[in-house]
């Protein structure tokens, strides 16, 4: 075989940004400038030769040059990526998976709900929507994390907060306690109580959420049961261990669904139809 789908392209790191003590943003560019087209919500297999590869969502808007990924240092591959500097190369295969139905969102009120590093998969879409703000009736964000040091992209979130055409709610887990976080300007609450207090009406609204599986499940439960949303109004992106990205390796299956091919973006009516193990 001369070329195959498993042979990666090499992509060069142009910039590294420390987001939190364990999360770094890597900005990437192809030496030949030939960046593949992608859509908001897709992912790629990024890796370091010698350590392996792992799936990361493409965290920048497609209209922006290059690629961007947010990498949390948790394992062998992510540790190897964290050790790299601008000028080093990563292996890249992709883009893979489906994307958010951006066109269908136009004219509607969008509420983004992100938990921790779960903002990364939504960030490309969020920026795209903000850059075409007039196409949407509302673009709001609830951004929560377990601790302050798990909030990513805070420079950008601060910009969002200054915008008049966007409502931003920040929240940390109540276990942190308001007295434990001096100077915290946001709330200390899980997301469902915030939703149930502010009661964003389901009329013409789409909620796009990503975070730890437990957060996604509780947010959806709250929206469906307490606020009267239809499952089709909720979109999420599932992160499974997508190893091949090609719908072959069997690792990301939930029932007959290959998350890496049919997902990772799903509306919640699809999610509810899965065998409940994710």
């Amino acid at each position: 075989m001369n070329e195959n789908l498993y042979r990666p392209r090499l992509v060069r790191i142009t910039d590294v940004v420390d987001e939190t003590p364990t999360i770094k943003t890597f900005r990437l560019a192809f030496d030949d400038g030939d960046r593949p087209d992608f859509k908001c919500g897709q992912f790629g297999e990024f890796g370091v030769y010698g350590a392996g590869e792992a799936p990361f969502c493409l965290a920048a808007a497609p209209a922006h040059p290059g690629l961007e990924i947010a990498v949390k240092r948790v394992g062998k591959v992510t540790r190897a990526i964290h050790n790299l500097n601008p000028g080093d190369v990563l292996t890249f295969r992709g883009p893979f998976g489906n994307w958010f139905p951006y066109e269908d969102f136009k004219g509607r009120k969008l509420l983004f709900i992100a938990g921790g590093i779960g903002l990364a998969p939504l960030r490309g879409l969020l920026w795209t929507c903000l850059e075409h703000r007039a196409d949407f009736e509302a673009v709001d964000l609830i951004y929560a994390a377990r601790e302050e040091c798990e909030l990513v992209y805070m420079r950008e979130v601060e910009e969002f907060e200054k915008r008049a055409d966007m409502k931003v709610t920040l929240a940390l887990d109540p276990v942190c306690g308001p007295d434990l976080i001096p100077g915290w300007r946001g709330r200390t609450s899980f997301v469902p109580p915030i939703l149930e207090e502010e009661r964003p009406s389901p009329a013409n609204r789409v909620v796009i959420t990503c975070g730890p599986p437990i957060m996604i499940k509780l947010v959806a439960k709250s929206l469906l049961n307490a606020l009267g949303y239809e499952p089709r109004q909720i979109w999420t992106t599932l992160e499974m261990r997508m190893k091949c990205g090609l719908g072959k390796c069997g690792r990301c299956n939930i029932g007959a669904t290959y998350v890496c091919k049919d997902g990772p973006c799903f509306s919640y009516d699809q999610v509810l139809a899965f065998p409940q193990e994710f």
Binding site: L5, Y49, G52, E53, V89, L246, R251, A256
Partner: protein, 347 residues
Amino acid sequence: MNARYYTLRQADLPALFDRARGDYDVIAKRRDANGNLCYGPATSFADVDFTAEQPRLSAKACAFPQIEELTRYRREGRTFTDATPAAPARPALLFGVNMCDAAAFEILDKVFSWDYKDDPYLERRARTTLFALACDALQIDCFCDRLDFPTAAVDLIAYRRGDDYLVEVRTEKGAALAEKYAACFGPAPAAEATGPGATSPPAAKKPPLLEEARPQLSRSFDHEDWALLAGTCVGCGTCTYLCPTCHCFDIQDEGGPAEGRRLRVWDHCTGRTFTQMPAHQPRDRQFQRYRQRLLHKFWYYPERFGPILCTGCGRCITFCPVKINIRELVEYFGGLKATPPGGARRK
């Protein structure tokens, strides 16, 4: 193409083998270091066991080896050079493969060629000719009489006729082989010149077939007996690694930062690490992992691709350290049978 029939005399087998060796990499049944039957490269007909007995591992490695090099890399300063290995040039012949192992390839072709084309698999697959030897009888654990696997992609099938064989040529690939070695193939007896006679295996199918379990299986996910009946699963990879149709894999780098290989290696969904993510384990208990394997074979895969992901070879029962019986469980959870195996049941 329409099937053609020939007689292959036992006495001509060695000659056929030797000639094929000139043109193909021949994989046949032989004995391993412990005297157990295995599929492996054969260089002499004297080493070949041309029997219908079942080798321990299936033949899937011919197209889907346990370890396969995807790329080979070498560091050059701050970047890398890499290359994919050259495909094997010679065609391969699976000489005397069991029907259940041969049929598996057609099932695997589906997943490896839907949407993205899996080049490493498909290139090996394309070069492989399947010459099957039909079984005479079912072994204790096998159950191909209970399911309906596809056989259209099996190139040649030999049916035992006394000391000799009736050979059915079913594909262009098979015809090419039969024409090339025409001297070894005589005309079929008149009674079987257009098809094998009534006594021919494969065995008659016994309903209800396992395919019929799917409607009920697809409602069994939350059945409370999974935890008991699959609770003895130890989580090893025996069933998946021996299975002709299990195809899950991992991609791993081996070597160092300076040079090495990116490999595809078999992996097993029954193992603890298969779906383990840093902060999340979707299938935390062992019975969930076993359930995944079973439902993938008999519900998810047919829903997606048509055929069930099983050819009834029975290896996963014979070699399961705790003798979990997939056929029994499909029947029970699929509503084809009222009582669970072993009498275990939670009320």
